[in-house]
Symmetry: C2
Amino acid sequence: MTRENNISKAVISRLPLYYRALCRLAVDGKTRVSSSELASMLGGTASQVRQDLNCFGGFGQQGMGYDIDRLKSEIRDILGLDKIKTAVIIGAGNLGRAIANKLTNDELNFIPIGIFDSDPVFSSLSVKGLPIMQDDELPAFCEKFKPDIAVLCIPDDKAPELTDNLVMLGIRNFWNFTGFDIKKAYPFTNSENVYLTDSLITLSYLIKNS
Amino acid sequence: MTRENNISKAVISRLPLYYRALCRLAVDGKTRVSSSELASMLGGTASQVRQDLNCFGGFGQQGMGYDIDRLKSEIRDILGLDKIKTAVIIGAGNLGRAIANKLTNDELNFIPIGIFDSDPVFSSLSVKGLPIMQDDELPAFCEKFKPDIAVLCIPDDKAPELTDNLVMLGIRNFWNFTGFDIKKAYPFTNSENVYLTDSLITLSYLIKNS
DNA sequence: TAGATTGTTAATCGATTAACAATC
DNA sequence: TAGATTGTTAATCGATTAACAATC
């Protein structure tokens, strides 16, 4: 069913929006949806919705629109949401603990399996039942549990060294809350960046120009 | 100097990258930079850099490139970074406290002036010297201090009601960490969204397709 | 069948890249 | 002056929108 090959960045960036829209529709008990309804939910055009979905397959039915459950499960498959992804969280500060909770929350099948910090002050604490470990326990832990993802919740200046360690330990996927450009330093990795500083700067621009 | 009128989304999204690149160059003690150097720092082309910067003015010098201090200060002006922007943080959980620290950190001139939570359990605590207040103190506080920004660090299901309150209290600018689409509900507001769930879903896609 | 809505091709729009004269 | 690099226009590329035949 998947003809996915050269999916454009633009399409990929909309997949989460489709998925969340379909979740809302499903919760509301609806069973079918048209491209124009979906479009108005995410602020695009019906044409765009149909083009986007047809990158992956013909999920609709002429005259009828799309079956919500079917489409939702196709998109879950496209996004890899059904597969369990284990994560270590690097940094046990406020942000690390917030993200640990975020990870456990949803039905996206991300599972935090370890939280690490360089500061021993955290080492008697736990988050969501997970003990906080010391950074020097990382090698043994990664060797043993082979986590799929590392989440970087550490200060920018510690990012290069810790990333290098993690790459050496076999980690290839990052959810990155630092300003460090992981993909540039290690092009063979996957990195999804949450550049909070850039977001804040953009907000400043929006305020100035409104 | 500013011919800014119809600056495209694409250009705006790169302004923070230029700013951060210039900060790094300035810290390294460099005084001039060419469009091609800048391009390689942010992964674009020299042509794109020159086009982008010329949306706002001719800041370069033929044969010499750009003066780093000059360009940095021009971009600070374009982005509104020199103006002080006061912020209230809504939600004093891990995320709210992490963001309160983030806001205080940089030279972006955002200043947290209040932290609010519905849960009285926080009301004896403080973050960075700021007392955590109860949600019912918000109206009097906003009336008195007229904060420029509200930062939403609350669960998704509380976002619609709280946003409505905040809009009624005169808040027009949001840094939004919930899944709620503020701009759609209140088109006259500015909202910079950090959609963590979408980011996580994108990471799942990257892992599946690598 | 008639109405609705898809899948898909063609047309438009916008953003990126290339090219080069201007000029430091 | 000669070399370098900008500012800017033109060409290319990609993404969005429009149109419509296919079909449920």
